[in-house]
Each structure stands twice: as structure tokens, then as C-alpha cells.
Symmetry: C2
Subunit: 117 residues, 2 copies
């Protein structure tokens, strides 16, 4: 191999977190400011409440987001990034830059076939 690569448990864990469906989207939205549960579902659009709830719990468990209950009377729950979560802005930002530069949003042309006959 060209370069040996030491396995990095921290990176593996980080990658496991970001490598879950919807996490990247949730983070981008929360980087713009706190959001309530319903706002998140609306802004993400196609996520199911079941999964959003799950993802939010995972992120909270990881210390990336915090949950704030405003006992109203109209009870409202807001989610916002912790310091650890805010620190992810660079990752999100670089991914956004990459996306701007490299992602074509139109239906991708078909992948080349492997040599088969």
C-alpha cells in the first residue's frame, strides 16, 4: 500500500455518527440556530418523525445537541447544538463547499459498465 494508515478509533466513531442517515442535514439546520421538533421535520421534509426522534436522541446522547423544554404553557421543545456540536461547523461547511463544486443535482448519467459482455 502506498501509505500505511493507522486505525483511528476516534475517527471511526465520528464517522459512525456522521455516517447515519439524516445526521448531516439535521446538523446543517441546527447550525443556523435552535429548532423545535416540528420545525426540523418541516425543514428536512422527508424524514419520518420516528427517525428524527431517534436521531435527536442519539445526538443528545453523544453530547452534540441539547434539548430544552420550555414549559410554556404552550409547551415547546427546542434542540440546539452544544459546543461539541457547534464545532462540527467546519465539517458541514467543507461538505457544503464540496457539494457546491462537485455535486450535480440533475439525475446523474448512468455509471459506466464494468467490462462485461
Amino acid at each position: 500500500m502506498e501509505h500505511p494508515l493507522t486505525r483511528c478509533a476516534r475517527y471511526e466513531k465520528a464517522s459512525e455518527l456522521m455516517g447515519k442517515r439524516w445526521t448531516g442535514l439535521i446538523l446543517r439546520i441546527l447550525l443556523a440556530g435552535p429548532r423545535r421538533f416540528g420545525e426540523l421535520t418541516d425543514e428536512i421534509g422527508s424524514i419520518s418523525e420516528r427517525v428524527l426522534s431517534e436521531r435527536l436522541k442519539e445526538l443528545e446522547a453523544e453530547g452534540v445537541v441539547s434539548r430544552h423544554v420550555d414549559a410554556g404553557p404552550p409547551i415547546r421543545v427546542a434542540y440546539q447544538l452544544t459546543e461539541k456540536g457547534q464545532a462540527l461547523w467546519k465539517v458541514v461547511d467543507e461538505l457544503a463547499r464540496w457539494a457546491e463544486r462537485w455535486v450535480d443535482v440533475k439525475p446523474a448519467s448512468a455509471a459506466r459498465k464494468r467490462k462485461s459482455a
Copy 2:
């Protein structure tokens, strides 16, 4: 909401790509140089060949990695990043930095450390 946020289809697609299990790990390895199928399975450790094969096809379809067959005789297949794939180094790098700074690899015990310089 604090800041409105325009939905970005490109980011959504990028996030869908990175937001798949194993993709972050595969990318980090490939950023260190080309790898053969077996090397990837070994270096990742716990991925199944079925899923690695699937992920590689997806990444190839997205134009992030390219597949090179060296018709040997000992036939070998190498995967390497395309220019588009290489461009992801910043994302991987920022994620790695974040992980170094914020991810605790040990099982979380009673007290959690705050930012220790």
C-alpha cells in the same frame, strides 16, 4: 427561527452520500492511496464484503472512486479516488480534527470532561 435556511439539493445529495455507513472510513483509507478490495476489507476490519462491494459501486457511480483492473496474470483490482473524490479530503480532515478534539473513545463513565486545553 433564528436564521432561515434555504434548502440545498446539492448538500442534501452530498450528505446522503457521506451519510451512508462506512463511506467515511472508505474515503479516509482511499485518501492515503489506492487500495485493493481485500486491503479495504482488512483495513476497515468489520465491514462485510457484501456491503463494501455495494458501497464501492455507489461511489464509483457517483464518480468519487474509480476502479482499475490490472489483468495480472494475478488479476487485481484497485480502487482509487477520482479528482472529485480527492476533493473530499477537506471534509475528512475536518471530521478527523473534530474527532481528535471531541470524541472520547472510552466508554462514557460518570463524569465527562469539559474542554481540556
